[in-house]
Amino acid sequence: MENKLGPERNVLLSLKGVHKEFNGFVAVNRIDLDVYEGEFLCFLGPSGCGKTTTLRMIAGLETPTDGEIYLKGQRITHMPPQQRNIGFVFQNYALFWHMTVYDNLAFGLRIRRLSPKEIDRRIREVAERFELTDVLRKKATYLDLSSMQRVALARAILIEPYLLLLDEPLNNIRPGLRELMRADLKRMQRDLGCTMIYVTHDQEEAMTLGDRILVMNEGRVEQIGSPLEIYQQPVNLFVAGFIGRPPMNLIPVQYEVTAEQAWVVWKGYRWSVNSVKEQVEKSKPERGLVLGIRPEHVRLSPEGLGIPALVEVVQPLGRKDILVLKIEDTLLQAVVYGGAKVREGAIIWVEVPLRDAHLFSADTGRAVAHGIG
């Protein structure tokens, strides 16, 4: 992967061919990755895709079966987690529940044999920032979840880690509070300027938080890039289908070449793909192509223009409606402004603007072209 944030930033962590198997099951499949200082990287993927395992290998809680991990240029593949100085915030926070909040926060510092005075100073400072001052003397079990999360974060930050790893820390928190805490986290990361890797299966979270997003599936890295890149230029069908709500419409199409003209053909409709002919030709289009169009890019057109479609379902979301359209036997989703006043059972006409469409190889699933014409 190339460095989209520019070569001027230092590589903090790099994974080289990191591979992990559990009794023959490949959890993480030869990952290469560079993480830059100060960035907020999100690991995004469905559950079981290996993102947590990767995180745990970085922290040293798992040992890779193969490959190497470097932190600040030092190989740490087999270094015990105690020596790595990497902070880790667990999904369930893993607070020491027999201890007070204060003792929880002081834990790492005491291990590092700081003077009690210094420990106290640092804790006060961090507690202030995290609004934990009032609960310092409480036992960890008696906290509410939001405080628990903050304690876990504060505890990890107090050891001044090179890198902070967060494993779905907002998973347990009810919606609403979740958005607030997400914003908190982002602000905090910016203030502290620390490097974070954040694991989530929630794409909205990843999109809002991450400077970059790493999309994982079945142990493999599918794509790394900024949220916008991932959204606009998904590298393959998986990323295309995974990112975006509602998901991208994926339509199998034929490729035809007639007299210098290249077309994709679907149910008698044809679109010219001359502008990307070169790319298309490279991808062995005779095995088929897939046309991808995000629902939000499907546009209503005046009656008689475009493709006629039957409105199966209308899901009103207020300002927007999600329409499920049926074109012959194919379902297509579209997002339209609520003002459109479409009724279920009606026939409407839609347009697929090629400029926002993506073409994928049906054979390999790889992206062939983004934005045609």
Binding site: A59, G60, L61, P80, P81, Q82, Q83, R84, N85, I86, G87, F88, F90, Q91, N92, A94, L95, F96, W97, H98, M99, F107, G108, I111, R112, K139, Y142, R155, A156, I159
Partner: protein, 323 residues
């Protein structure tokens, strides 16, 4: 808010309105049952009934017996002469009593601490997956499931002068190295304590192991990422987390071990002489073999008071934060 944490951390239910609303349709009996004061009482009632039924009258009889002078050969127990504290006076001038007490304390101290250390070490050893773990656990737990009588005679046979232990010793170190285990107080106690450790380490193991299983591995991992080494993780994270369970296991073992009877009875009968006699054996000898039931009652009361004092002074502070 209907509930909050009381000063001592107990869950308190302040208003009853909540319950009332939830159950008003069921009727007033359910309502009554659900009232906190009634609920609390009903929880402890079965235990109170059982214990009062079983213990109060016999305990009164024990106190009565300790204050009179009665042996079955003197006739009816209800007509025994009142002697005040003379049974207690006699007890405090009995060297054998104090020796038995001291010996029992030593047995408890050695045996239980070994059980604790071994059981804990084993629990830590087994607190990760490996092949054949289930079988190993079953093997370790088995001794606990045997009747004491059986454990007693296995170890008696093992430690006989011509038993397997001496056989192994003589084949490894030569015939001169064998030990006549039951011939002296110290070696006989070693055999007895070994038997007790063998039988009851499994209990400490089971308790620590179950408790360890309840500690989420993230706690240890969190400590790891914070820089704690293995010992620090155990000392500051794992052990404090399982401490309530382990402490209770320790107390239970100590109490049971204090009453150690069967093993000694079968292995040495307190011999040679009275040199391996535990408190229970002493009471048994006085009360059962010699029929001095009044004296035995006095001994039992003194022992009970002594242990209670130890428990109040020594154990309560330990448990303070758990209570």
């Amino acid at each position: 808010m209907v509930c909050f944490h009381g000063d001592e951390g107990a869950l308190m239910i302040k208003e009853k309105g909540k319950f009332k609303r939830a159950t008003s349709s069921i009727g007033s009996i359910a309502n009554l049952l659900n009232r906190e004061s009634v609920f609390k009482i009903m929880l402890v009632t079965p235990m109170q009934l059982l214990l009062s039924f079983l213990l109060v009258p016999p305990f009164a009889i024990v106190i009565y017996l300790a204050l009179v002078n009665w042996q079955p050969i003197f006739g009816s127990w209800t007509e025994a002469p009142f002697v005040g504290v003379s049974n207690f006076v006699r007890l405090f001038s009995d060297r054998q009593f104090f020796w038995a007490l001291a010996r029992t304390v030593v047995i408890v101290a050695i045996s239980v601490s070994f059980q604790f250390i071994l059981g804990m070490a084993l629990a830590l050893l087994f607190n990760r997956e490996f092949h054949g773990k289930k079988v190993c656990v079953s093997v370790i737990l088995y001794p606990m499931m045997l009747p004491w009588v059986v454990v007693g005679f296995i170890f008696y046979l093992l430690f006989l002068d011509h038993g397997p232990v001496n056989y192994v010793i003589s084949s490894v170190f030569g015939p001169g190295a064998t030990v006549s285990w039951f011939s002296s107080s110290v070696t006989a106690l070693v055999a007895i304590i070994l038997a007790d450790i063998w039988q009851w380490t499994p209990f400490m193991f089971l308790m620590s192991y179950s408790a360890l299983g309840a500690v989420p591995k993230e706690l240890r991992e969190a400590a790891m990422t914070l820089g704690a080494n293995l010992w620090q993780i155990f000392r500051y994270v794992t052990f404090p987390t399982i401490k309530p369970v382990v402490l209770i296991a320790l107390i239970i073992r100590a109490l049971e071990c204090f009453k150690i009877f069967d093993l000694i009875f079968i292995m040495t009968r307190g011999g040679p002489g009275v040199s391996t006699e535990s408190m229970s054996l002493y009471i048994y000898r006085m009360g059962f073999r010699y029929g001095q039931l009044s004296f035995a009652a006095a001994v039992a009361i003194v022992v009970l008071v002594a242990i209670s004092l130890v428990a109040r002074i020594g154990v309560r502070p330990l448990l303070k934060e758990e209570l």
